[in-house]
């Protein structure tokens, strides 16, 4: 059910995005143009409706607001972006606005889909607080608002670009600057590697990618430093366009790559699960040295009894309508004929989750046994296990990213490679699309209103509520955790944005760049904890 709803909204958002893109080409007023103008929002409405249903269903099943795992967080974030999509589209009736926000919704769900979708009936103790609802939901709203400001900032920078005023030399210059900086960066990383300081364990083609990514890390400050004149260049604002396209392409490629990596991770996990299942079969063999239909039935029978016990518990719980204690369930457990040790008290959610797990196990065991064809010798099982373990090891070691050192730089390197075509596409499309972008003043004013809506929410929700919650949960207002520092930096950037608008020389391009940068940092803060760990790493 949930998978269906998810697919419906994912593909509706995709179709809506495509309709928005196609709608940009025919002139306004033509039949095709009118068709797409109606079709695209209609598709987004279908997508949002199904996403709403998904969230409500999950809310009902788990009995709490679904904001505690990455998947749930991103789904709700996408939902809020959809809300702002309608608000902004209602204010600015320009097809391009829709075309710009709709990829955000699609990518948000793509990204969400790569995280485990498992239902968690019980939160870990640290999250069992009403502050979770306040802190996380307000942060989501704040970030969704910032996402809209991000799109507006990108549009501003693109619209602000005047191709006719840029002399061809500075165009080339920025390319040379980047290539030069990247080359210097790669050399720096290469030398550091030769000294044995970084990337010591990385070899082969991945090393090249790592060098590219590591070089990129070094190159960005160099490039920014050298590029400052181009960005500040009054004639043409070519630097602003470069910045906008760089950020856009890196963000898209990062999401794309992130989803690939997550998918690989899921494959690894499913192999590990298979190995576990195989271990169960081996345990079930007993003394005969052969897995026969009978021994399998014995194993399955035990599982089924456990499942029956949990089904019984579920029924009992439904009658009692409160948390089950050991005494109430004693009779069921004694009669079940299993040797399970169950920790009480149990909530309905926990019982259901365990029941689902057992059902999944049963299906998996039967499927595996079916594949093997019974009876099968122990040697056959161990051979299969060995090959599965080999598979597992191969996937872990030869995955897209190196296993331990150089993970980040390899990620950046691949990201850079994937970003190039997006960059070129965006760069080429910028000129022809300029007519369709709303006027600079409108964009600027909308972006300002958006940020001044989001900033107070973010200040209160992310920073103040976060600190207060931490005070009660961890005994500290502030722990210098990666996510805390990340949110503070995001807050700094938006504070600079708000201040920048009062200083004449900083408004316009610089303010738009700050709005873009702020959201970029928020995204980094979101993924940062999975790399750096820390107190906020809940999965």
């Amino acid at each position: 059910m949930e998978a269906t709803l998810f697919s419906i909204s994912l593909w509706s958002f995709f179709a809506g995005m495509m309709a928005h893109f196609l709608g940009l080409f025919p002139r306004e007023g033509t039949r095709a143009g009118r068709l797409f103008r109606w079709l695209a929002p209609a598709l987004v409405i279908i997508g949002s409706g199904s996403l709403t249903a998904l969230i409500i269903q999950r809310w009902a099943t788990q009995g709490r607001v679904p904001i505690s795992s990455s998947y749930e967080y991103l789904s709700v974030l996408t939902w809020f972006v959809a809300v702002f999509y309608f608000v902004v589209l209602n204010k600015v009736r320009k097809p391009l606005m829709g075309a710009c926000i709709s990829p955000g919704m699609f990518l948000g769900l793509v990204f969400a889909g790569m995280y485990p979708r498992k239902l968690e009936m019980t939160l870990i103790p640290a999250l069992q607080s009403y502050w979770l609802k306040i802190h996380v939901s307000l942060t989501i709203i704040g970030e969704a608002v910032f996402a809209v400001a991000f799109v507006l900032g990108i549009l501003y920078l693109v619209k602000n670009y005047r191709a006719d005023r840029v002399d061809p030399q500075s165009r080339r210059k920025s390319l040379y600057l980047f290539l030069g900086a990247e080359l210097v960066g790669m050399n720096v990383v290469g030398i550091l590697r030769a000294l044995g300081l970084v990337l010591a364990g990385v070899r082969g083609p991945v090393l090249v990618v790592c060098l590219l990514g590591g070089g990129f890390l070094v190159a960005v400050p160099l490039y920014l430093w050298a590029c400052r004149r181009l960005v500040a260049d009054g004639g043409g604002n070519h630097g602003g366009l470069i910045f906008a396209m760089t950020v856009f392409s890196l963000l898209v490629s990062g999401m794309f790559l992130g989803s690939l990596v997550n998918r690989n991770q899921q494959r690894i996990e499913s192999t590990a699960y298979r190995i576990q299942t195989l271990d169960r079969l081996v345990e079930g063999i007993g003394g005969s040295g052969e897995l026969t239909r009978e021994s399998l039935e014995r194993l399955l029978g035990e599982k089924r009894r456990e499942l029956d016990l949990y089904l019984g518990l579920e029924k009992l719980h439904a009658q009692r309508k409160h948390t089950l204690s050991q005494e109430e369930a004693r009779e069921l457990i004694d009669n079940s004929g299993t040797e399970l040790r169950i920790d009480f008290p149990l909530t309905l959610g926990e019982i259901r989750q365990e029941r689902r797990r057992l059902q999944g196990d049963l299906v998996e065991i039967e499927a595996l046994a079916g594949e093997l064809g019974l009876p099968v010798k122990l040697a056959g099982l161990t051979a299969l296990r060995r090959s599965l373990v080999d598979d597992y090891n191969r996937m872990v070691t030869s995955g897209l990213l190196p296993h331990d050192s150089g993970r980040i730089s390899a990620f950046l390197g691949y990201m850079l490679l994937i970003a190039v075509p997006f960059f070129i596409l965006g760069y080429l499309a910028a000129g022809p699309l300029q007519d369709r972008i709303p006027e600079l003043e409108i964009l600027d004013s909308l972006a300002y209103r958006t940020v001044s809506l989001g900033f107070p929410i973010y200040t209160f929700g992310a920073l103040i509520c976060g600190a207060v919650w931490a005070h009660y949960a961890w005994g500290k207002w502030w722990s210098n955790d990666p996510k805390e520092i990340g949110s503070l930096i995001v807050w700094f950037v938006y504070a600079i944005y708000l201040h920048a608008r009062y200083v004449k020389s900083w408004s316009g391009t610089q303010a738009a760049a700050a709005a873009v940068l702020g959201f970029l940092l928020a995204v980094l803060g979101f993924v940062g904890n999975s790399v750096l760990g820390g107190l906020h790493a809940y999965g």
Partner: protein, 569 residues
Amino acid sequence: MERANGPEGSSPARPHCREKGGFLAGKKKKKGVLERFWDTMESMRFAVVLLVVLAVVSLVGVLLPQFPPDGFEGPLETLFLQKYGPFFGGLFVFLGLDHLFTAWWYYLLLALLCLNVTVCSLNRLKRITALVRREHYLETEQDYRDQANNRSLRLDIAAEGAAGGVGSLLEQQGYRVFKRPHPSGEALLLYARKGALSHFGPFLSHISMVIIILGAAVSYLLSFQHFQWMGADEQIVVPDLGYMSSPGYQLELVAGRIREAFGSPGRPSGLMLADSVVRNSDWRRLPADLDLRRSFRVRLDRFEAQFTPQGKPKAYLSTVTVLGPGPEDGPLFSQLIKVNDPLIYQGMYFYQSSYAPSGRAAKWVELTVADKDSTHPERYELKLGIGRPAVPLGSSGDSIRLVRFTGNFRRNPQGEVLDLPGEDRNPAVQSVITRGGEVIMQGWSFKNFPDFSHRRDDPYAVVMGDYEKGYLSGLTIRTHHSQGVIWAGFALLVLGVMLSFYVNHRQLWAMVVPEGGARSRVHLAGLSYKWKQPFLAEFKSYLEKIRALSAGPPEAGGRPSEQTKTSEV
């Protein structure tokens, strides 16, 4: 800061938040060091630079480890030297990057930021107050035409009546209305304002940041923290920390923190010594000779760690009873301490912050430690608790402590040790043996596999014997010094942000000129600091209402406000 003094490039080149008539205005002599410093403090650009520097430095602090990771023994310095080599590791340690958030220069950056924000805010305060309390009139028709929104109307009522009508209309709309006759005596002037307090928003939000930083700094300097393991039915004596509020102690503490920031811990003296005992001791057995009044006792009645069927933690629950100070004193009350739900008593916070180091713990474990050195083959029979202080191994000078226990030892494919729920199928304990503060061996011992424990070149063989299962509850006991300041800072920040973003300062001016008989002419002008578009609609609605004061035909005069160019700020 709402407005910089002129565009970039004018002299002085940097945009200052300083107003004319600021603290040091009017001095034109060559600037001394102090004055230059003051100038920097008044510069808004300096604030932005500081914010950027702080952001970058904090990022570095996130990327480099600031605490020894789990399982790493010894000071962080050694980790840095191991991880980044003697040159970079040494450099990082020299720069204080291993304790970045407590390094002296990090404090300095924060202090500069506070000073800068305070100076800028105070400089602006005068102007804000003037603006908020302003009673300001526009006296010529040209003044009215210069405003962004303006209109002239002809009314069929006398000037006094018209002025009164306009005034009461605006008062109904929540405006504060001021009236005055024109200096020439030939007309009536009106000034109305609403939401002027919003100008205090930026001031409040900036000052509140300073308050929060200062409150946090004081809280960090003067708060007390202690971590305590407790088993069921054990009790601790919570020492009276009243001595901590004595100025002498606080001075010493601050001095100690500053020395720490510079990397040279000084020698503790007097109160500090008592403090260090309280800080480091196990409160289950504070030294008897410690001369501190005892304020109350806390007994752990029950600790429960609940898990889901999948083995995920569900709840950690410590039921504690607070008892009077003496051994003969009875219980005062009982309370359940949960994560997110601390016990607060007499200014002390008891947080549920851990439970027996990891997974399913043992109350005690029996160990046989044999010295493998053939010259003096000693055997030690020990009974140790998990996470307790190290115990010496006879007279060898080495000591052993237990780090972790699990009833079901199993590693996942990544090599991490899992704590699986259920029966104890493979009980194992992780021990660490140190010699002179340095780890000489650490590893797991298995009850069921006594020979399968240690490497051949380990100096000892550790064999695990019997154990008794039971959880330990890990409580963090804290005081929160000056937390009222932090709460006040939060409140001011919320108030400041609300005022800045949700309240709009609007001003309306009117000049009512009598035109003989029962006729008059009204010039109306309006200005809004924010939300120009909605204000335009509001302005138009006032025009309609004023027009309705008389049945006379309106006359279009001045610029129609619809055509004025409004830009949103």
